[in-house]
Symmetry: C2
Subunit: 183 residues, 2 copies
DNA sequence: TGACAATGACTGACTGGTCAGTCATAAAGT
DNA sequence: ACTTTATGACTGACCAGTCAGTCATTGTCA
């Protein structure tokens, strides 16, 4: 996976993958049909821990919706955006159009579930009166947009201008939930 | 450029590029040093019309900041996100880490200028009282985040679930500027 | 004006290197 | 002994980059 993340699908050499895995090239073909299906299966299996990282954080019982979203964002930024897992997301964005199977899987397992969960949270927030903007529930993408920005910024521009992703997300939450209580 | 967008740098064959351009492969080498510098130069020149599309829209004299941002977003979504130019942005995200020169250029010419302009608009909005959240000026990325989401959604997921990017952006603006006046 | 020469943009067959995928052989396991 | 698992040298396709040759255009001279 690290090889694919570093070089992309086409430029990755199976000799390097084998060396990195500590096996001979032939061994790869005992486990995978060809390079393409190896790539797809690797992504599929790599996404699983990414999902469990995200849903792994237990929501505090008495927490406000804002606290839940903020905790979620904190986990995402610390565990995904600023780590190699973030590059996995970038890899999917990069290769997705050429690997519809990958894009489909990612949509079904991550995007649609994540957005559904976020929508539920938003509706809870609306019901509790924490969120004023009812139409936000129609576009849960807005809630997570800065998180994706953080992933991309991290791998492309952080050397030019570091970005405090968590603080950015908090400002974003201020827009949605109203000004932050003093911290 | 279309070949690179469709296949990525590594998988693009110069024979195909030549054929598409209506010249022989050798001709390419009369204009470019090698495949890599061709890629970089092509991106550089392709970015120019992208920039001019975005700054090309004249701001109406009496327009509110919200109208200006919304007009900007409309242009972006119509002229970039839903066209081949959007895939150019995706290509830069995809290949950026392996072509620092491309990422640098994109940061200097598009990202840093765009964010600076957006920050100026935000500060104008704050001064005029249209925007309540002063800290938004620290993260102009938030303002454009849904636009980037739209680009990525378009090329990866629109077949699964079409996204009304402009409406999403309007909802996002509602968060920033307050509820929309009736339309 | 017409014949000839010079130019250089363009061509595409060719080369050398790279790499996905194979398979005869070897090692490990039972 | 024999089955399963692993190896890595090998093959053939592929492709970036080269370069000797072509030819339309422009310039020169009688």
């Amino acid at each position: 996976m690290d090889e694919f993340i570093a070089r992309g699908f086409a430029a990755t050499r199976l000799d390097d993958v084998a060396k990195r895995a500590g096996v001979a090239k032939g061994t790869i073909y005992l486990h995978f049909k060809d390079k393409e299906s190896m790539f797809e299966e690797l992504i599929r299996t790599a996404i699983v821990p990414l999902i469990s990282r995200l849903w792994g954080t237990p929501p505090q019982p008495g927490a406000s919706v804002r606290d839940m979203v903020e905790g979620f964002a904190k986990t995402f930024i610390e565990e995904v955006a600023t780590t190699r897992r973030g590059d996995l997301v970038r890899l999917i964005v990069a290769e997705g159009p050429r690997f519809p199977a990958v894009a489909d899987f990612y949509y079904r397992e991550v995007v649609s579930r994540g957005l559904a969960g976020m929508r539920a949270l938003i509706e809870l927030g609306i019901a509790r009166g924490e969120i004023q903007h009812k139409s936000l529930a129609r576009f849960p993408q807005i809630m997570v947009a800065p998180a994706l920005i953080a992933v991309i910024w991290q791998s492309l521009f952080s050397r030019h201008a570091p970005l405090d992703a968590l603080e950015m997300f908090r400002v974003h939450l201020d827009l949605i939930f109203g000004e932050r209580r003093t911290t």
